[in-house]
């Protein structure tokens, strides 16, 4: 039996999103998620080598900006957190990588 809960995503301005994405941990989270349909919390923690608290705080910021969706489900009695990148998040991370590549070409 599994219950699913999706939190709503309040919108944010483009400058705020850009500032959020610029942080390299959040950039890592979005880049990893952009390669996948979804990932569990533990997977992101392992691939990006983050502590639970650190990852949680970054995810909360990304979620409140509407860049990711956090899905909380239960497998039996065990809670499982899955993360999915939103189209806005994908667009933001793609644009950020493009800007970095452009900057690299200039320098």
């Amino acid at each position: 039996m599994s219950r699913e809960k999706t939190r709503p995503e309040p919108g944010r301005g483009p400058e705020v999103i850009e500032k959020l994405v610029r942080d390299h941990t959040r950039m890592g989270i979005l880049t990893v998620l952009s390669q996948l349909q979804s990932a569990e919390f533990l997977f992101l923690q392992s691939t990006l080598k983050l502590t639970q608290g650190n990852l949680s705080s970054h995810l909360a910021k990304l979620e409140s900006a509407g860049l990711i969706v956090v899905l909380k489900t239960f497998e039996g009695k065990k809670p499982v957190t899955r993360l999915v990148i939103t189209p806005l998040g994908r667009e933001a991370i793609d644009r950020h990588w493009e800007q970095l590549e452009a900057l690299r070409r200039i320098t």
Binding site: T31, E40, F41, L42, F43, L44, K49
Partner: protein, 188 residues
């Protein structure tokens, strides 16, 4: 851009590459398949082979889920990997059939498996890359497939093909498992 900044970007790219190829890097699946095939290649051990295959594969799946969590690939990528794997398995099955009938003096099953592995490796490790060891294993398997033409083979071609494929799968699986655990290792 500073060196530290570049290093951070490289680390992010590496993490994303591992995430994209996560399924392919779960080497214990190939180890299970290889051990199972190895037993199947030995006459009278078919049942044990299937049992080993199931036990190791299930244990591998549980290990990866508990240790690193689940990641669902993009549907399109998933489809491509499944199609390539299925076509490869079908070709190898055909090759093994020809080995059983003794249609050629070489191990056709192993030869076809070497070709199928090229396709599979290029798809499964599209982001993390095919290592020199993976290429070496393919070459060794192809050469092993030609070896029966020298005439020294004392077992059936079918068993020889299956055994060669199995050994390559076990080694490849162990290498992939090592790559994944190394990539996921916490920083000290």
């Amino acid at each position: 851009m500073t060196d530290e900044f570049d290093q951070n970007l490289a680390a992010i790219r590496r993490a994303a590459d591992v995430a994209a190829d996560y399924k392919g890097l779960q080497g214990l699946f190939n180890v299970g398949l290889g051990v199972g095939l190895l037993f199947t290649a030995v006459p009278g051990y078919n049942g044990i082979g299937a049992l080993f295959m199931i036990v190791i594969t299930v244990a591998g799946h549980t290990y990866y889920v508990k240790k690193y969590g689940r990641a669902t690939p993009q549907p399109r990528r998933n489809r491509t990997v499944i199609i390539v794997w299925f076509l490869g398995a079908l070709l190898v099955w055909g090759g093994l059939g020809l080995d059983a009938s003794g249609a050629a003096p070489i191990a056709l099953g192993a030869l076809v498996a070497a070709v199928a592995l090229i396709g599979f490796d290029l798809v499964a490790y599209r982001h993390v890359g095919v290592t020199a060891l993976h290429w070496a294993l393919i070459v060794i398997l192809a050469l092993a497939a030609l070896a029966p033409a020298l005439g020294w083979l004392s077992i059936g071609l079918w068993n020889y093909s299956l055994g060669s494929i199995a050994i390559v799968l076990v080694i490849q699986g162990l290498v992939d498992h090592w790559r994944l655990t190394r990539a996921m290792e916490p920083t000290r």
